[in-house]
């Protein structure tokens, strides 16, 4: 009787071992997909170039990155100003030169979307933010970079708005709509600001 019982018990143990191994692998796969895989990120389209909307965009981006989410910011149209460090008039036709002169040269020079009051609005906002010890837009942008937020400049709106790589801060990606959609498809949250 014991002749049969021992091999039976052994094969049972083996089956249990295999089952545990399978379960561990399933769990690990699940863990992998939730910690850095799909549907955990935040994808932002930064379309607006106004101080208040940029503050909102970068506040969300830095908060999401702090929460361990992968964050991608796509700068397009007026939003390109957020990643500008100045303006260059190199290699631009006359329309480009006028556009360059009319657009803010850096995030520090942006207007507000409401109550701009010929440029008083931004000063008021900056004064109030300082008073309440809120981080400035420039500080938020620095933090976003430090937290590893991905900055992508929309290449086709760069042409349209007559901005060049030399106008921008370092370390950007240059891409188009497909790159945004690919990041958005992997994200849990997508916003257009």
């Amino acid at each position: 009787m014991t002749d049969h019982a021992v091999p039976a018990a052994l094969s049972n143990l083996q089956a249990i071992d295999e089952m545990i191994q399978r379960r561990i692998e399933e769990r690990l796969a699940l863990l992998g997909s939730t910690s850095n895989g799909p549907r955990r990120g935040l994808a932002l389209i930064v379309f607006s170039g106004e101080l208040d909307k940029l503050i909102a965009a970068f506040t969300l981006a830095t908060a999401a990155a702090s929460m361990g989410m992968g964050v991608s910011m796509f700068f397009t149209f007026w939003g390109l100003v957020a990643i500008k460090r100045g303006r260059s008039a190199k290699r631009k036709d006359w329309i480009g030169k006028i556009l360059t002169a009319m657009l803010p040269s850096s995030p520090a020079r942006t207007h507000t979307s409401h109550m701009n009051c010929l440029g008083v609005g931004p000063h008021l906002i900056k004064y109030l933010m300082k008073k309440h010890q809120a981080a400035s837009l420039e500080e938020l942008i620095r933090c976003a970079r430090e937290l590893g937020v991905r900055f992508v400049a929309c290449a086709s709106s760069m042409e349209l708005m007559s901005v060049q790589k030399e106008d921008f801060i370092e370390g950007l990606e240059y891409a188009g709509a497909a790159t945004f959609l690919s990041a958005a498809a992997d994200s849990a949250i997508t916003l257009f600001i």
């Binding site: 830095t62 908060a63 702090s66 361990g68 981080a135």
Partner: protein, 62 residues
């Protein structure tokens, strides 16, 4: 912003090390709890006597 500063500060810590923070942000408690829930670090202590103070223990190496 306190959450951003905490997450930058906690990067330099090893698991098991603790961080004491003071904040005057009215959203601090709610944001801190959401952040703790999300990342799994431990909130050892939270007090609010005029200025809010929290003691956080880093759980896993991130």
């Amino acid at each position: 912003m306190p959450i951003v500063k905490i997450s930058l500060a906690i990067k330099g810590l090893a698991a098991g090390q603790r961080l004491r923070v003071r904040a005057d942000d009215p959203a601090f408690k709610a944001d801190l709890e959401a952040w703790i829930r999300r990342l799994g670090h431990r909130l050892i202590q939270y007090t609010d006597a005029g200025v809010q103070e929290a003691l956080i223990e880093k759980v896993q190496a991130t």
